[in-house]
């Protein structure tokens, strides 16, 4: 009796294990799985704000109603965000009610508070969370993949976790389950990378970098901030410019807001010295990540030519580095 039940148990166990192992096969019989690389193209087509290269005539026209780039200057971060977004056409231009939104600030380390300007201004992030929710977003998640410390710790130290949670958003510690190794079809050099799948499939991805000094990139702005969506980012450093632009061909935020409120002028991207921080009270908004980066070089007294990856990105049709003739609206809040 006892032997029999053990045998039965083992048989059931084997059966269970086989079923479990066979489930991917069973699953594939049902719904046809979408090839990984197709995921972003499908969602981006729906948002009509992809890139200047793929934008249709109609899309260009809608863009013409609004300034190409908005700059707000002031001292109240939330008002700067609200005024800037309003000038850009409001959050409704970028999302429909019920949308799933991901905000990607720069929370690269968990060493110091936001005052040291290594991480994005928490009030800017919180204001975006509020605006998305006001526009009917189903869910607003805020996330980054820090290199210096755990997500939990960095979210807390940066001050972003507290304000985002209070505003009704969710802080998501990026799960290794969601990094999917995939082909980058338009890549020149970075042909494969492990990318966080949610930033590819979400309805709206808002890129909110902080403008700061960086050894390799010289400045880390919108494009450089995309590196927090992939694994093994250290491997990107050799042939940095090509790799970064390759990544930008697949991770396509529909909106980039560069935080230039407190800018880290030296010893970035980690910081730690208030003497290196310059208060500039500026926010830069654009649907075009390259244009935003190009404009942001002015915060450091430079031109886009200072950043080879911005020029390369423009050459490869990801946006405009040359801002001449574009409709740029500047808003002074305190004036």
């Amino acid at each position: 009796m006892k032997d029999q039940s053990r045998r039965e148990f083992l048989r059931n166990l084997m059966l269970g294990a086989t079923t479990l192992a066979a489930q991917p096969i069973l699953a594939s019989c049902g719904v046809k799985p979408v090839p990984e690389t197709q995921v972003p193209t499908v969602t981006l087509a729906a948002t009509e704000l992809a890139s200047t290269e793929t934008a249709t005539e109609a899309a260009t026209e809608t863009q013409n109603q609004y300034p190409y780039l908005v700059v707000t200057r002031g001292s109240d971060a939330e008002q700067m965000v609200r005024q800037g977004m309003q000038a850009l056409g409001g959050m409704e231009r970028f999302m429909k009610s019920g949308a799933d939104v991901i905000i990607k600030p720069n929370i690269c380390v968990g060493y110091y508070s936001f005052e040291y300007a290594a991480t994005t201004n928490p009030w800017v992030v919180a204001a975006l969370v509020k605006m998305c929710l006001e526009s009917g977003a189903k869910r607003v998640r805020v996330m980054d993949y820090p290199f210096g410390g755990t997500g939990e710790q960095c979210y807390k130290i940066s001050g972003i976790a507290d304000l985002v949670t209070a505003a009704g958003g969710e802080m998501e510690v990026m799960s290794s389950l969601k990094f999917v190794e995939m082909d980058i079809p338009d890549a020149v050099r970075l042909k494969r990378a492990s990318i966080y799948q949610d930033v590819l499939t979400t309805d709206l991805l808002i890129n909110v970098p902080i403008a700061k000094n960086h050894g390799m990139a010289k400045l880390t702005l919108g494009l450089k901030n995309l590196m927090g969506t992939m694994l093994n980012r250290e491997s990107i450093h050799p042939s940095f410019e090509k790799n970064l632009v390759d990544l930008a061909t697949i991770v396509r935020p529909q909106l980039t807001i560069i935080d230039g409120i407190r800018t880290l002028m030296a010893n970035g991207p980690t910081g730690g010295n208030l003497d290196d921080v310059k208060i500039q009270n500026t926010l830069i908004f654009s649907h075009d990540i390259v244009a935003a980066d190009s404009y942001a070089t002015r915060l450091f007294g430079k031109t886009p030519e200072y950043l080879p990856y911005v020029i390369k990105a423009a050459e490869r049709g990801l946006g405009k580095a040359d801002l001449t003739g574009l409709n740029i609206k500047e808003i002074f809040l305190d004036a």
Binding site: Q23, P24, A27, P33, Y112, F147, G149, T150, E234, N273
Partner: protein
């Protein structure tokens, strides 16, 4: 089919109460390990389990000659044994609970060891305490509470993590299940398990030791508790004076039922079914099996008699001899003289010998280190320093925003530095291998190390170097240079260096 048990078992509330207590205590102590992490339990709660052990605390006191207020917590166990004997072992000890869980009553592979083997644990206790007086704490590896915390941290939780991850990975392939699995994972990490699965060097040795302790149950139930456990031995000494002891009434019919039910087999038919309070765990099984109510655990002050297997003078002296010899032999270990490249102690540790005389090998620091930079050592400090923490930067860097190890070390072997002080304290010093660094070897601009360096003024600075290529042309490359004054040896540069295999920048012993 085994013989059916015709005897009617009396349901006894005491046994049920004991089992419930065991389960609750185990869950609490296990979860205390789980929640011991950066931003987790307050340090006093994370250290609670370890500070309960009078063996670890007494050894640490003898060895480091420093009194720690927190160690007085262990007096609870010592004092309680004056009342309830080894009730700790039967009712609360997490290792004891595991041994009760993995009991194989019908599968004994060897004959029960002789009674005289029971004195082995006293021998071990004497060796541990005497070695401690000479400044050696290596054998605290045998303290059941350090075994519990160490094994849970280094093997059980990482294995559990891998199993859960593998199942999650499988389930997310099913379209309908993906979202619930992601939601489950978001609840699980980082609250219960770290965001990235931990891995520890030499963890298999810890695992084997743990499994061996369980497998000894195949020879005799609670083999570890009867013959080996040095904490059991320490608690056994005051237990002989315990007020609550198992006592036989005159009504005993010498039926022998209780003898069969005793997990430590201390009920002796040769001796009128008396038992030794230094062996009895007050599990109350005998109370349940006794048909005649001939047993009581009622309070009475009457010290227990001497046992045949108690250490005699010769055995005591040989334990003393063994301790002296082993401490002396360990101190002649060649590894003490060996030039050490990578012996990087946790931040704030200054003197290696002092550290070895204070660290109780509990493993709390491995658990709280958020990057798993702290790893159990074997290769750098040898047998004496086995399973003491060292920093292995290629595995994890010392997080510039973290001082969890010092804050959580129950015996301050790792000093409880403030974050500001920890940021100033040097663990080692980084050196660049120009033969392997991409800047020199391949003339590539990489400078990941400079980017990662968390020092406010950067301990890695950049110079521009010129190289002549094979075609005679000149190329300019950014070269990283380590500033000796500023570098604290946190090792984030070594950790993130994109060179395959060993990093091109490595942190060396100061």
């Amino acid at each position: 089919m085994p013989k059916t048990n015709t005897r009617q078992k009396r349901t006894d509330g005491w046994v049920i109460a004991r089992k419930i207590t065991q389960a609750i205590a185990f869950v609490i102590l296990f979860m205390a390990v789980v929640f011991s992490r950066q931003n987790g339990l307050p340090a006093d709660l994370a250290d609670f389990t370890i500070r309960l052990s009078p063996l670890a605390m007494l050894s640490q006191l003898l060895s480091s000659k420093t009194f720690l207020a927190g160690s007085t917590l262990s007096l609870i166990l010592l004092v309680s044994s004056l009342f309830f004997g080894r009730a700790w072992c039967g009712w609360l000890c997490p290792l004891g609970t595991i041994l009760d869980l993995f009991n194989f009553p019908k599968r004994k592979i060897a004959k029960q060891p002789p009674e005289s083997l029971r004195n082995l644990k006293y021998g071990l206790l004497i060796v541990i305490l005497l070695s401690a007086i000479f400044g050696n704490l290596t054998l605290l590896l045998f303290d059941p509470l350090t075994i519990f915390v160490r094994s849970t941290t280094l093997t059980i939780l990482p294995a559990l993590d891998r199993i859960i991850y593998a199942i999650e990975k499988l389930l997310i392939k099913i379209p309908l299940l993906a979202e619930p699995v992601f939601a489950f994972d978001a609840r699980l990490r980082p609250t219960f398990l770290p965001s990235t699965a931990p891995a520890y060097q030499y963890a298999f040795l810890v695992g084997l030791f743990f499994v061996a302790i369980i497998l000894l149950n195949l020879i005799a139930e609670r083999f570890w508790c009867r013959y080996l456990c040095p904490l059991g031995a320490l608690l056994g000494l005051p237990s002989r004076l315990a007020i609550f002891q198992r006592r036989i009434k005159a009504s005993c019919s010498t039926c022998g039922l209780c003898e069969n039910d005793c997990p430590t087999d201390t009920i002796n038919s040769q001796n009128n079914y008396q038992s030794d309070p230094a062996e009895c765990t007050l599990c109350m099984n005998c109370l349940r099996s006794c048909q005649k109510d001939s047993l009581s655990f009622s309070p009475k002050w009457q010290p227990a008699p001497h046992q045949a297997y108690d250490l005699n003078r010769r055995q005591f002296l040989s334990s003393v001899g063994i301790s002296i010899a082993s401490v002396a032999l360990l101190s002649t270990d060649w590894i003490k003289r060996k030039a050490k490249n990578f012996l990087l102690r946790p931040p704030g540790v200054v003197n290696e010998n002092e550290f070895l005389s204070t660290c109780i090998r509990c493993g709390v620091c491995f658990k709280v280190c958020p990057t798993q930079a702290l790893q159990p050592d074997f290769s750098e400090s040898g047998l004496e320093g086995a399973f003491t923490p060292i920093l292995v930067p290629r595995n994890g860097f010392c997080d510039f925003g973290c001082n969890a190890c010092g804050q959580n070390c129950p015996v301050q072997a790792i000093p409880p530095l403030s974050l500001e002080d920890k940021r100033q304290s040097k663990v080692g010093h980084a050196y660049i291998d120009h033969n392997r660094c991409l800047a020199w070897s391949d003339h590539i601009n990489c400078i990941v190390c400079e980017e990662m360096c968390p020092i406010p003024q950067k301990a890695i600075t950049l110079e521009t170097g010129q190289f002549t290529l094979s075609d005679g042309s000149l190329i300019e490359v950014l070269l990283p240079v380590v500033d000796r004054e500023r570098c604290i040896g946190c090792g984030i540069c070594e950790n993130k260096c994109p060179v395959q295999g060993d990093s091109a920048i490595r942190v060396y012993t100061l």
